[in-house]
Symmetry: C2
Subunit: 210 residues, 2 copies
Amino acid sequence: MTEETASTAPEDLARHAEKMAKKKAARDKIMATKTGEKGLIIVHTGKGKGKSSAAFGMIFRHIAHGRKSAVVQFIKGAMSTGERDLILRHFSDLCDFHTMGEGFTWETQDKARDIAMARAAWEKAKELIRDPANSMVLLDEINIAIRYDYVPLADVLTFLAEEKPPMTHVVLTGRNAAEGLIELADLVTEMELVKHPFRSGIKAQQGVEF
Amino acid sequence: MTEETASTAPEDLARHAEKMAKKKAARDKIMATKTGEKGLIIVHTGKGKGKSSAAFGMIFRHIAHGRKSAVVQFIKGAMSTGERDLILRHFSDLCDFHTMGEGFTWETQDKARDIAMARAAWEKAKELIRDPANSMVLLDEINIAIRYDYVPLADVLTFLAEEKPPMTHVVLTGRNAAEGLIELADLVTEMELVKHPFRSGIKAQQGVEF
C-alpha cells in the first residue's frame, strides 16, 4: 500500500494521481450501470446502536428534499425522543408521525393491550404505505412486534410484496429481523455491537441515547 | 418460547404478566447501577450503511435538546447532503458545520491537496473539541483520512486521551476504524452490509443515500 502513505515526493504524487485516475475511471464505469430506481424495502437490525437513528437520517433527508414521509413507532420506549421532538416541532407538515406502542413488553406487562396496540400500529402502517403522497414510511421497532408474533410475519411479507406502491420506500427497524423479511428486503444492514459503555457503569445520556 | 406467541388465553396472559414483571425488576435493578456520566468517544465503522446517518441522529438529538454541537466533514463526497442542508438551513445556531474535504481521494487525484485539507480539518476538529460550548463534535469520515495516514493516528489518540474535555462526546465515523481507536473508544458500532441494491443495478436515490 505505498500509495497509502503521506509521502509527498514528486514521483509518489505522480504515481498516486495515476492510480487514483484509474480507480475513478473504474468506479465511474460501475456507477454508470446503476440506473434503476425503485422503492426499496430497507431493514436495520442487529444488537448495535444506530438502527433507528440511521432510519431517521433517511427521514431527515426526505425532509431536506421537501419529500413527504411518515413514521409509525411500534414501541414508544425506544427512546428516540430527540428525533421525534424535532420532527413534531419543525417538520410535521412533511412527516406524519404516529407513536402507537406503549413501551417494551416487559414495561407494560399487559399482553392483550400490547397485541391490540401492535395490530393497530400495523393497520396505520398499511394505510400510510398505501398513500401515494408518502415517498418513505418508517416502521420503527416493528421487528420486535413481529418476533413476538403480535404482528404476523406472513401478513407483513404479503403486504410488502403485493401492495406496497413500487416507488415507495419502507424502512423496518429492530433487533432479530425475521429471515423471511431479510430475504424480501433490498437493503439490509446489521448494526453490530462492538463495545458499549453500559458495561463500565455509564448510563444513557441526553443527546446520545435520547 | 411460549410467552412469545400471540395467545390471549387467561392463564397465558397471567403467566406472561408475571414473567414480564420479573424481567422488568431485573432490568430496573441493572439500570440503577448505571449512574455515571462522561463524554464518550464513539466510533461508527464497517462497510454497511448508516454510519454517518446514525451519527447525525445524535447531532439532531443535541439540537432537539438545545445543546450545542459541531460537525467536521473530512470528505465532502460522502453524500450526506440531506442532513447537512437541513442543519445549515434550520439549526446553524446550534450546530457549527465545517465541510473541509474535497471528495474521495480517487475523485480529486491530487494527493498533496488532500493531505493539506485533511490536516486543516483535523486542526479545526481540535479547536471545536477544545471549545467548552460544544457538547458533541462529529468527525465525519475521519477514519478514511486516518487510514490513508493523512491525519496521523497517534496524534488523534493522544489528543482524545489527553486533551478532550471530560464531558465532551466525540463521534468518529468511516470504514476501517484503526485498532487503536477502537481500543480507546467507549462505544463502537460496526455497520455490517448484509444486502445492497447496487448489486441488482439500483442507483443511489434521493432521500435514501443523499
